[in-house]
Symmetry: C2
Subunit: 169 residues, 2 copies
DNA sequence: GCAGATCGTAAGCGCATGCCTATGAATTCT
DNA sequence: AGAATTCATAGGCATGCGCTTACGATCTGC
């Protein structure tokens, strides 16, 4: 295993020993989203709505702007989503007594129930994929994902100035 | 290892032991793409162009339609990309002598050089990310990615009927 | 040789999205 | 009190994309 880079990365600058991370991960994400779609449809949720439900539970969110930032959505774009979720009794949107400009967002019991049901079904489908991995790699894979997801340089940062999407990935 | 799901998935249907795969992978892919962008800019390549260069080398592609399918692009959309790449001497686009409707696509030496340079730079950046993973997990992570990428159910399949993008991820 | 299918190309439609601006309500600073 | 800021909301603009249609050139089957 000289500079031929057997399982080493492309550190040696030659032709790559592996595909680009993005070239593997982005399509993977695409496929996962595609797999989610039917489940979400079955639960009457859009991807945005599901994302909102997920993030409302995970961290205490106070302002809609904060929520929008957290899920990388436009502040003005989640309004309709929230309107819908509220109308269906899945979330509460009460004016903050401390700062009546803001609307306090929280899940209703019904919302939590739906979120749990959808997420459970989704993760069940994902497990079918993970089952394809050698058991030895599986937990490491998940651990690695969680590690990378927590990295600061992966944080939303700041979309510096792009209109709409960019590339194929 | 009861139903409490320590490192097990959400098979037991309760609150999830981990975030959704998509919720971790999609942002990761987004971040990777964002990290690629400056490198591509520096090499004078768009994401589409880079993707084309990558796929032209990897598998012998004969028709533009096949290429478009392989990179999940619209047949009509890569034309401009190919025009540009050809004009810059990075690819050849000769009419197939066997079927003069088709254009044979191939990388020029210059194209291969640029592709190698860009990919090398990109993977170098990716290595910095991978370095954050415990060495024990790293190779397994990459192996898992390659495994999952090769899965048939992750293959482009067929975008069944979506207009533009869909969700937040 | 003619009909139908295929390839590359061009042009247009519709859609989802991000960004910007404006408006009104409420808060904070001076 | 008045000015500046923040929040939620609404509307409009521009972009990137997928899909469809159309067209000419070409290949294939009859």
């Amino acid at each position: 295993m000289a500079e031929n880079a057997a399982d080493d990365g492309a550190t040696s600058e030659g032709r790559p020993a592996r595909p680009d991370l993005a070239a593997m991960i982005v399509p993977l994400g695409r496929a996962l989203m595609a797999a989610e779609q039917p489940v979400l449809d079955a639960h009457g949720l859009t991807m945005w709505a599901y994302t909102v439900l997920l993030h409302l539970e995970e961290t205490p969110i106070r302002t809609q702007a904060a929520l929008a930032g957290a899920i990388r959505a436009d502040k003005t774009r989640i309004i309709a989503v929230l309107d819908d979720l509220e109308a269906r009794g899945l979330i509460h949107r009460q004016p903050d007594p401390e700062d009546r400009r803001a609307r306090l967002l929280s899940l209703t019991t019904e919302g939590r129930r739906l979120r749990d049901a959808a997420q459970s079904a989704i993760q069940q489908g994902e497990e079918r994929l993970l089952a394809r991995l050698p058991a030895a790699d599986r937990s490491g894979f998940l651990r690695s994902l969680e590690t990378l997801s927590a990295l600061p340089e992966l944080a939303p940062g700041k979309p510096e100035r792009t209109t709409g999407r960019k590339g194929p990935h």
